[in-house]
Amino acid sequence: MIHPTEQISAYLDGELHGQELTRLMDHLSRCGRCSADLEQMQFVRSAVRSLPVLELPEALIPEAEPVVVPLRRHKGMWAGVAAAAVVAAVALAAIVTPPPDEISLQQLNSMVGARSTLDPVFGPAKVSAFPVVEE
């Protein structure tokens, strides 16, 4: 008896069709050895497919377009944009609300609006418009 061993994996992967599929089904109904082979291949296939999906290391994820750069890290033209945004935000806050004793970075972020949905694949970016920068 010829045992269609290679067709067993193809069957598990949905890659067997037509007469090949019919012949394998017929063979499996009569062959204990190939039925056992089918179970073993199914187990191995499931084992490999159960390997956890690993996340791409952050170092390999390209940075999204910068909206505003950190206040104290001047990078070309964006530094001016950042400074202007801060001035505008503080001025707006002074007009709309009584002057607080101290404005926190969190408050600035909430006034100007933090970047939130730049990356459609990997979810919201984790940086805010005005991250705390260590001196």
Binding site: V44, L54, E55, P57, I61
Partner: protein
């Protein structure tokens, strides 16, 4: 209709995780996988301007597996080294109960180690099928072999894995 990423950054965002998983399962090493992804993205960056509309994924996976094979040839070494805390565990299977054995081989490390024992052609076919999720036709295009060869490599690879895992 297949949409074609326009920049390498978009390729990295859309396909980066798949490429990394492919690279990691082939090499078994995060540093090698990291380097391989970087090399693939570099080749994508260089090649996108001359890319001809067609099967983008086929093109991408050809680049990816060629980068892997080039790395293997360049280093002239087996692409992996055994995990240091795994060495003794492979001689214990015969004394374990079925449940214990199942739990043991359910561990990703054991499966990973078994994958690394496969000849490269078989490992590549199994990983492209079971980790990346390509069809036999897609694998055949990426690896440039007939579908019958893909079928044979996947089955023979799984047979070896079965022997290694039980």
């Amino acid at each position: 209709m297949e949409s074609i990423p326009l920049t390498w950054e978009e390729v990295a965002r859309v396909y980066g995780r798949k490429i990394y998983n492919f690279a990691y399962r082939l090499t078994g090493n995060p540093d090698d996988a990291h380097d391989l992804v970087q090399e693939v993205l570099l080749r994508v960056h260089r090649g996108l301007s001359s890319y001809q509309p067609g099967s983008f994924e086929g093109w991408l996976w050809r680049i990816t597996r060629n980068a892997f094979l080039d790395d293997v040839r360049r280093q002239k070494r087996r692409p992996t080294s055994p995990l240091p805390d795994e060495v003794d565990r492979w001689g214990q299977a015969s004394t374990e109960s079925a449940d214990t054995e199942y739990a043991r081989i359910s561990l990703g490390d054991d499966i990973q180690k078994a994958l690394l024992e496969l000849p490269i052609d078989f490992r590549e076919a199994v990983v492209l099928c079971d980790v990346v999720g390509l069809s036999y036709e897609e694998i055949a295009k990426a690896v440039a072999v007939p579908i019958g060869t893909v079928r044979s490599r996947i089955h023979r690879g799984r047979k070896i894995l079965k022997e290694l895992l039980t």
